[in-house]
Symmetry: C2
Subunit: 418 residues, 2 copies
Amino acid sequence: MTRKVVIVGAGFGGLQVVQDLKGAGCEITLIDQRNHHLFQPLLYQVATTLLATSEIAWPIRRLLRNRPDVTTLLATVTGIDRERREVLLKDGGRVPYDDLVLATGATHAYFGRDDWEKDAPGLKTLEDATTIRRRLLLAFEAAELSDDPAEREAFLTFAVIGAGPTGVELAGIIADLAHRILPREFRRIDTTKARVLLIEAGPRILAAFPEKLSAHATRSLERLGVEVQTGSPVTDLGEAGVVIGDKPIPCRTVIWAAGVQASAAGTWLGVETDRAGRVMVSDRLTLPDDPHIFVLGDTAHVETDGKMVPGVAPAAKQQGKHVAAMIRADLAGKPLPGPFRYRHMGNLATIGPNSAVIDFGRFQLRGRLAWWIWGLAHIYFLIGTRSRLVVALSWLWSFLSGQNSARLITQKETLRDQ
Amino acid sequence: MTRKVVIVGAGFGGLQVVQDLKGAGCEITLIDQRNHHLFQPLLYQVATTLLATSEIAWPIRRLLRNRPDVTTLLATVTGIDRERREVLLKDGGRVPYDDLVLATGATHAYFGRDDWEKDAPGLKTLEDATTIRRRLLLAFEAAELSDDPAEREAFLTFAVIGAGPTGVELAGIIADLAHRILPREFRRIDTTKARVLLIEAGPRILAAFPEKLSAHATRSLERLGVEVQTGSPVTDLGEAGVVIGDKPIPCRTVIWAAGVQASAAGTWLGVETDRAGRVMVSDRLTLPDDPHIFVLGDTAHVETDGKMVPGVAPAAKQQGKHVAAMIRADLAGKPLPGPFRYRHMGNLATIGPNSAVIDFGRFQLRGRLAWWIWGLAHIYFLIGTRSRLVVALSWLWSFLSGQNSARLITQKETLRDQ
């Protein structure tokens, strides 16, 4: 009887497995708790009003409508019964598997201070992005309404915590929004006076990049009006603002881009994980004691040449390809492919609306040309002609009109979520 | 000192007043509880996945960025102090006015059964639209997950209550979604079996249209697979479904398009209203006892030749023009314009993805040609080249690809809002 492959998570890794299993003749069930695949690399642009939600997400069912071998379930996984080889669903349902692929991604980590989350949302889902967008825009609105100078200043101070690519990208666009795009729209406040802080505990921003590019990025951000504060550990934060060391900074909008925590897959399996909760897998991406349970992407701790594979889309895709190859070989009774090896494509990050830094290892790029390469690469990786068209149009539009096209507040008019 | 004009509500009426007061030399404050102007005539297309939220809404500030004479406030009005001539805001603020324009629109009316709202949301705001979209899509997901035939059937039964233009438009697109667009995407359920009920208490649908067009619309809807039930008063509804007369119909998704209720403006002013809460205004659109307080649009009860002016966008715009003309004349010390007279442009409603009925009074149109006229008219009335481009693209895309482009579930994966 046909092999049952259950894949949990329709991110870059999970979808790649589905794609590469086309025609393999197995019965695939794809489970995700959202109805859409999300193009996370551009999520920061939704959070900062450059793109609309619909431009970087696709209903999973639609992507797979020509794959009768795939059943898609919108459901939340609560555990795994390794004895009976079944995935447990929140509504009580059970999905049996012969091969199980866990590609459930990661979420934010607050280093044991989960109480910080409500005041400093992270950026992983579309909901996170619209929440952050809402708070950004409402902060300006509240400042315009307020008559208290101190309160106004707090509303016009924005803090991004963590200076990896996401933090850098968020800070750059927020500064551009405040200093270039919004000024003409407010009558009582001067949004060019808004402060945008990029707060990093480590010694420099974009730590994964060469020093030269970090330095360049810092200068570019400062030109955009971002206050870059390195060596500045956040010791506390709340509705009133953030505390760096023992220096409190009144600020009503804080965004968390500091740490990630793998999803619960390790707990479901009851296996060993690293400190970030990633499942320790074999060099074949399987559990050491079960060759039919695969873990990949941000949920897995994988090393190549002793270096940990980074949590980026290309890595998840490569792992997805490898997992699919393993399953196909096994189905065909052929010898399994060798250990997984990660091929690093390079690091990139955008700085503001039209600059970027790219590290290809062999050589580096920065500035406007880097931005164009980054832009083309991302449009290329989007799914479907329509999205490519629409995203290109949105970028072209902001570029020509000096306006960001996605400035809607579509949730309650409250600064904090009730 | 300059005349202070305060306008509450940035819908079609309120924005028209702002537009026509350009250069009049008054100090305008525009107050709305949302940050965007919404193109309500296309809202049903957001609710039914044809358009994305960002395509039919525009940040009010951006629309008015070239109007230094206008201050925009994102705030909720709680009352009006007619003694001191001030508008009261939720946060305690007060906005003084010389002229006050109330264009605060309408909301749904449940005929004294407000408890029905949570199970049968209406369609007035972007949030309403995304809520309805979410429930529609989640109903199909829940049916795919369910193993209980009765439950599946209830999830695959959709009821639209009220067969005015909005109800007809919703029912048509939902049927198209279930019967033409989704079937290929589900493996366990057959969405072509989904039932879409259009429930009307009155004797025929589209009561405002000539009998011939109602009959044509009924036939077209039935061709799309909509079950049209006229003379069917809803006596009760809840999470389990709707009750028509004494016949219960199990159904998990109910949309309310039956009644409207004017906003609270009448209460704020403490004046006489009609049964729907509309403020009774003079033929100059002012309060009988205060020529400096104007009420217009869905919030006002206005009659022309003894016929009540309908709650449609063109009426609100015409009233906005009239109010601006009154204020300008008063400012210039010129004689005031005569009484307001409504010029009816015609009624139109779309039926499914590519048919419509239009009643121009003198002559009538139906079918595909009517749809094209309807479509062009609406694209023309959208604000800005970008929106026109994007909406046209979305329609063209659905037309060519047979796919609706806005199928995201961007809120919690729950059928009811917690």
